[in-house]
């Protein structure tokens, strides 16, 4: 009886903590829909408005920022999927000379990620004359060691008999990769997509450093410039509205795919 009571109490406390975790999002959402005087007065009232969003949309080129971010996210993931699948297949299924050494080389990318190499990578990009381009934002992320390791794990669990059968039927190794391994590893691709997309959508420091024109800026950089164009503390309603504009797409995707998202994370072998 006593354990039942404590377990229920614990559950209630955790639900309260979960509710507490939501406060920042709720606070910002409410602020985004309120006129400025109401947001700062601290008293609750029924004043709500969509004006903040109109102001934000006309004050900064958020449409361009959106397009840039979507383009970057899609291109990076498409290329990563291709390069990582190929490399993972080589590591998982082909006995070749030097495989363990090359594998170790890729491990270094996990230990020393691109975020840390901002300054030398800036110099590399300058040498390639790719500063202030969307291609420049994408380049350092086109090969993903994380993706390679993830897919390698899954490819290894696919029975070799399937491959042998296909080879006997006259498939080439390349066809085996795309017709057998690729479709069978779909849940892992979903998990990898979620990691890759949220990383690129949220990436900030690197695009901040290498872009300086509106045409190439992603949402995160646009948002930070917008937020800092105000005197601190004056335009909270607009900043909240802009922040909401940036985070809503990802939150919506998450809410819609919540189940698959967490399950695919849990079963994809990211551990």
């Amino acid at each position: 009886m006593k354990t039942k009571f404590t377990s229920r109490l614990g559950n209630i406390l955790m639900l309260a903590l979960a509710a507490f975790w939501l406060i920042p999002l709720l606070w910002m959402t409410v602020t985004a829909f309120r006129p400025r005087h109401a947001a700062l007065s601290g008293l609750f009232s029924l004043d709500f408005t969509l004006g903040n969003f109109a102001t934000v949309w006309s004050a900064a080129p958020f449409a361009t920022y959106y397009l840039n971010t979507i383009l970057i996210v899609v291109c990076v993931f498409a290329v990563q999927m291709l390069t990582a699948s190929m490399a993972a297949f080589a590591f998982a299924r082909i006995a070749f000379a030097g495989s363990s050494i090359v594998f170790l080389l890729f491990l270094v990318q996990i230990m020393i990620p691109a975020d840390v190499l901002i300054f030398p990578n800036y110099n590399v990009l300058k040498q390639l004359s790719l500063l202030d381009t969307k291609l420049g934002i994408m380049l350092p992320f086109l090969a993903s060691a994380f993706g390679i390791f993830l897919l390698r794990q899954v490819f290894k669990t696919i029975p070799a008999e399937l491959e042998e059968a296909a080879l006997i039927e006259g498939c080439s190794q390349w066809q085996v990769l795309w017709k057998i391994y690729f479709p069978l590893a779909r849940p892992t691709y979903v998990a990898f997509a979620l990691v890759s997309i949220s990383y690129q959508w949220n990436n900030f420091l690197w695009p901040l450093i290498i872009t300086n024109s509106v045409e190439n800026r992603p949402l995160t950089v646009g948002l930070s410039i917008f937020a800092q164009s105000f005197e601190i503390g004056v335009q909270w309603t607009e900043v909240s509205a802009a922040t909401l504009l940036v985070i809503t797409p990802l939150l919506l995707i998450f809410l819609v795919f919540q189940r698959q998202f967490i399950e695919s994370f849990m079963h994809s072998g990211i551990k």
Binding site: A18, I118, F119, L205, I209, V239
Partner: protein, 292 residues
């Protein structure tokens, strides 16, 4: 012979694109960093001058650098154990809660998805004196207005709190995965023997989650050195460098002061720190953990 050659060729062909990017954006930049860190290359020297270890010597005498390193250690000590403990608690409850399981998981996980730059905007508002959520909450308890981000002794705590909020849900996912792998029979046997809940956690759940804890702690520790976006919006390292961290200091040195030699030396230190963390994982801790 011919078959083996073809097999090798095919493997290397598959690896080629990934390797190319790896060399160009991981290994070449690292080499570039190590080389440039031995040069004086700033605004006053149009052509870099070789100065050996001078940058490193200056760095270790630099008070800001020492403060930044101390801050980073404090930041890690503040975020890693607390974040992990909370994540474990979240996972244990979100795993078997009868009611509100989906709600719990989503509520804890959503901060992970939000860009750090958006998190910074939200929390800047929360920490704002007078109008912010923190101030309003504390004023109900009769506590006077506190300027969280403007007070040197408090700013780091404000950052630690925010990062724990952002990260704990992410680590929870790994613990949820770990919990799925523990066999149900162990719990059933314990239940039959009438073992208490806390003892079950201490003797079964916690030890069997050790590999997950190790993995999560390495990720958290690495993150403690990688997360800086929020500093751009919230404090710019201030006041008086009390919230400055190594990566932000690299950014400032490189792109505000254009001291390229020093920025390279700092990056070299950063690489060393990350390699050290990785080495601890591979050679130290990994052996003491028993896998099931």
């Amino acid at each position: 012979m011919n078959a083996s050659l073809r097999r090798n060729g095919f493997a290397w062909l598959l690896l080629l694109p990934s390797l190319l990017f790896l060399l160009l954006f991981t290994f070449y930049p690292i080499a570039l960093t190590l080389r440039l860190s031995l040069f004086q290359a700033d605004l006053s020297t149009p052509e870099p001058v070789f100065t050996g270890l001078a940058n490193y010597r200056t760095m270790f005498q630099d008070e800001v650098f020492r403060k930044v390193m101390t801050n980073n250690v404090l930041f890690a000590l503040g975020t890693v154990p607390l974040g992990i403990a909370l994540a474990l608690l979240m996972a244990v409850f979100a795993n078997k809660a009868l009611r509100g399981r989906g709600f719990m998981r989503s509520a804890f996980f959503y901060p992970t998805l939000i860009p750090m730059i958006a998190v910074a905007n939200i929390w800047l508002f929360i920490y704002t004196p007078e109008y912010g959520f923190m101030s309003r909450l504390l004023s109900w308890f009769g506590v006077n207005d506190i300027n969280w981000l403007g007070t040197p002794g408090l700013v780091m705590w404000a950052m630690i709190l925010m990062i724990i909020w952002k990260e704990a849900g992410f680590f929870m996912i790994f613990y949820l995965a770990g919990l799925q792998n523990i066999s149900k029979e162990l719990y059933e046997a314990a239940h039959v023997d009438g073992v208490g809940r806390f003892t079950v956690f201490r003797k079964i759940t916690f030890p069997l989650l050790m590999p997950t804890t190790l993995f999560v702690s390495i990720v958290a520790l690495t993150n403690a050195y990688k997360l800086v976006d929020h500093l751009m919006i919230m404090t710019r390292g201030g006041p008086n460098n009390s919230s400055n961290l190594l990566l932000y200091y690299i950014y400032e040195t490189a792109f505000s002061y254009w001291d390229q030699g020093m920025a390279s030396a700092l990056t070299a230190v950063m690489i060393a720190v990350l390699l050290l963390i990785a080495a601890v994982q591979f050679f130290g801790l990994d052996r003491r953990i028993h896998y099931n």
